[in-house]
């Protein structure tokens, strides 16, 4: 269980509170207007931001003492998920060992992960030689290999076209189904939420609401969310 215990973040005019839990293994969309604090909520879990008050707990343990790399978390950012100067295989291998001294067993794991996302034999290429969709697949392969129990997605596929995005979301659902990861995904698109996330957290007016079932929420949105969704 991922718990947001009495969280307060204050930065100048900006304010965010959160007090709820996400059940382990759930896939949750995070929706709200720009600047409402969607990325902030994810940063609290990934460790790039400390709350001014409250605790983030995973399985009952406070995450505060852990640096971003030590947390049980994988992150897919909006962009810059790959190092452009390293090969595809190296980018994936970093998820296993940051010093890249991989055993032959680990190298096999990298090969398998690549095959799993449909990029067999592309290990030697540089990210720039791949299409946007293929780059996303590389990042997903690393998520698969790291197999951290929490996965945070900050609009990672927003640069892809609709068909490609749906393809990625399906692949992502497959992979997280396999690893059993708890997923928080920031998105602007209600269709993404419907497609991928049974639950949704709405952020509005400085508050992150507890997760509720996505379908009913979007079918009958509360006033704040209705204004944002437009219609």
């Amino acid at each position: 269980m991922l718990e947001f215990c009495d969280i307060h973040v204050i930065q100048g005019d900006f304010h965010l509170t959160a007090d709820f839990a996400v059940l382990a293994g759930r896939r949750v969309a995070v929706i709200g207007p720009s600047g409402s604090g969607k990325s902030t909520l994810l940063s609290l879990v990934s460790g790039f931001l400390r709350p001014d008050r409250g605790q983030i707990r995973w399985e009952g343990r406070d995450l505060a003492p852990l640096s971003p790399g030590q947390r049980p978390v994988s992150v897919l950012f909006q962009d810059q998920n790959l190092f452009p100067h390293l090969s595809v295989a190296q980018n994936i291998g970093l998820g296993l060992r940051p010093d890249l001294r991989l055993s032959s067993d680990q190298r096999d794991q990298v090969t398998h992960a690549l095959a799993r996302v449909g990029l067999a034999d592309m290990g030697d290429r540089r990210p720039a030689q791949l299409s946007g969709g293929q780059q996303s697949r590389v990042a997903l392969a690393r998520v698969l290999l790291r197999a951290r129990p929490i996965l945070l997605l900050d609009e990672p596929f927003s640069a892809l076209g609709p068909a490609l995005k749906d393809e990625m979301l399906d692949l992502l659902a497959e992979i997280t189904g396999q690893t059993g990861a708890t997923v928080l995904m920031v998105t602007h698109d209600p269709d993404d939420a419907r497609r991928f996330a049974p639950d949704t957290i709405v952020i509005h007016d400085g508050r992150a609401d507890p997760p509720t079932a996505t379908g009913p929420l979007l079918d009958n949105p509360p006033p704040g969310l209705r204004a944002y969704l437009g219609g």
């Binding site: 900006f14 990325s39 992150v75 190092f83 100067h85």
Partner: protein, 519 residues
């Protein structure tokens, strides 16, 4: 929100290295200055000779800056509006004096403007009186030689920063050249020239090697040269220290003025943009051609004259010159390496949001001139060591410190960009220590590291500064060249100058190229 999110970085263990390095650097420089201050006898210890040095330092720097800036305007204007074969090469060459060893340039100037030079030969043939390169006029000439190209580059940047659309608009409105000057060019010059003037003024304020070789005497001694004379000839450490404080005061005052003016960066990228417009014809065409030819001649002639005289004699150079060359190369490499390590640690800390004082520590070398630091270090260490013993280590250390501001200027923007683009990804993958250096920092910063290393190595290679305080039995190559010149062995000196110039440029080229290969 992104900015706020990045501002807090729990578990940033790396902050300590930067703070420790900055503290060490500050302690070294400020400690050295403190030793100088403790030893200084108060301003009453300075005689009229010393005050004349202070006065000369200020006015020669002011005159050098004024001449460089004024002469640079027509040259930059001509380069901005004319295209010709070799233009790109010439613009690149304008950057060369930055890493050209000072003593080599002096050698070149002497061979053109000296007693046996071409200019005086022509004057004598015409029955006119000879000119002398020794004295204040020689100091100014050398300073203009170094800083005119620098100024041209800076002003040319200003010209190229005027959007081409403005020139097109001016053309469509039927502006005459005079109108263009009034509405486009003069406002740009008013914005750019103060910074250019000040940049040259600052460089000339700590001039040592030029004054050592061409100046001297009551009318052409800078404060740096006076420190050298007090230290070396009179061994009057009190006076050397007092003069050192005066020099620091001059630098501080100039920096205080500089903080109110934007000083453009001397080594800008994208210096070779397309020519913005068709230049006007008629006499202006002739004038532009003359400006470019005169500037190119002034820059290239002394160098060519040294090369022609020296190149055939290199093979015949004595063993001690080659020893000095080897010694200098090793020292330059150690210096460059030290400057890069210091600079990298500081730049990474600054990119991660270290305090402003860390950045300030990296810029401290700007207030301490090499001779002041050398004097201070000797004052601290002299209980244990002789001047001969510390000559080489102190020279290496001071050259590394002096290169640091340039290294930081190259590294900080690149380190910031790297941190913005990949800092969070690296942190989320737990990249730290050696893996972080190897798989992120070195590949991403290879280019600025190569460029900065090249600058540091070339500057250290050509430096004729603090070494003169201490040693003569283990000379560096620039010192060896100076000794040959003083012994009037001009043929060997020319050959030595070619060697020194070649090694300096080669060091820069190898580093810079190396950085580009990895990127």
């Amino acid at each position: 929100m992104a900015g706020g999110v990045l501002a807090v970085r729990p578990g940033a263990r790396s902050g300590w290295g930067g703070a420790a390095t900055a503290a060490l650097l500050a302690a070294l420089i400020l400690g050295t200055l403190a030793a100088v201050a403790v030893y200084a006898g108060g301003l009453s210890g300075l005689g009229p000779w010393d005050w004349r040095a202070v006065w000369f330092t200020i006015w020669q720097a002011a005159l050098s800056a004024s001449l460089s800036a004024a002469l640079a305007v027509p040259v930059a204007k001509a380069l901005a509006r004319r295209d010709f074969p070799g233009r790109a090469v010439l613009v690149t060459l304008l950057g060369a004096p930055f890493i050209l060893p000072v003593i080599v340039a002096i050698m070149g100037l002497v061979s053109v403007f000296g007693r046996n030079g071409v200019i005086n030969g022509a004057l004598t043939a015409l029955g006119l009186p000879e000119i002398s390169i020794y004295g204040w006029q020689g100091v100014i000439l050398a300073h203009v030689f170094f800083n005119l190209p620098l100024s041209v580059r800076l002003i040319l940047q200003g010209w190229q920063a005027i959007p081409a659309e403005r020139f097109r608009l001016a053309e469509s409105l039927g502006f005459a050249p005079g109108d263009i000057a009034r509405h486009l060019e003069r406002p740009m010059l008013r914005a750019v020239l103060p910074g250019v003037w000040l940049a040259v003024f600052l460089v000339c304020l700590t001039s040592f090697a030029v004054a050592l070789a061409l100046g001297g005497g009551p009318k052409a001694t800078t404060v740096e040269l006076a420190i050298y004379q007090a230290f070396r000839f009179d061994f009057d450490m009190g006076r050397a220290a007092t003069l050192g404080l005066v020099q620091v005061g001059l630098c501080l005052a100039a920096m205080a003025i500089a903080s109110r003016v934007t000083i453009p960066s001397a080594f800008g990228a994208g210096m070779d943009g397309a020519v913005a417009l068709r230049g006007p014809g008629g006499w202006r065409r002739v004038g532009d051609a003359a400006a470019i030819l005169l500037a190119a001649g002034f820059l290239l002639w002394p160098m060519l004259s040294v090369i022609v005289a020296g190149l055939p004699r290199i093979a015949g150079l004595e063993a001690s010159v080659w020893d000095a060359a080897m010694r200098s190369v090793v020292m330059a490499l150690v210096s460059a390496f030290a400057a890069l390590v210091l600079g990298l640690v500081l730049a990474l800390a600054i990119a991660r949001g270290a305090g402003r004082w860390v950045e300030a520590a990296g810029m401290l070398p700007l207030i301490a001139s090499p001779l002041v630091l050398g004097t201070g270090l000797y004052l601290i260490l002299r209980i244990w060591v002789t001047p001969q013993q510390i000559a080489l280590p102190v020279t290496v250390a001071i050259n590394a410190i002096m290169a640091l501001p340039f290294v930081l200027r190259a590294l900080i923007p690149a380190a910031r960009a790297m941190q913005d683009d990949f800092g969070r990804l690296a942190a989320s993958l737990d990249l730290n220590g050696w893996p972080l250096l190897r798989y992120l920092v070195l590949p991403r910063l290879a280019r600025p590291l190569g460029f900065a290393g090249g600058l540091a190595a070339a500057l250290a290679m050509g430096d004729l500064g603090v070494i003169t305080l201490f040693a003569s039995d283990q000379p560096t190559l620039p010192l060896k060249l100076y000794q040959l010149m003083n012994a009037y062995r001009m043929g060997d000196a020319a050959a030595c100058a070619v060697l020194l110039m070649a090694i300096s440029f080669a060091l820069f080229w190898v580093f810079d190229k190396g950085g580009r290969l990895r990127a």
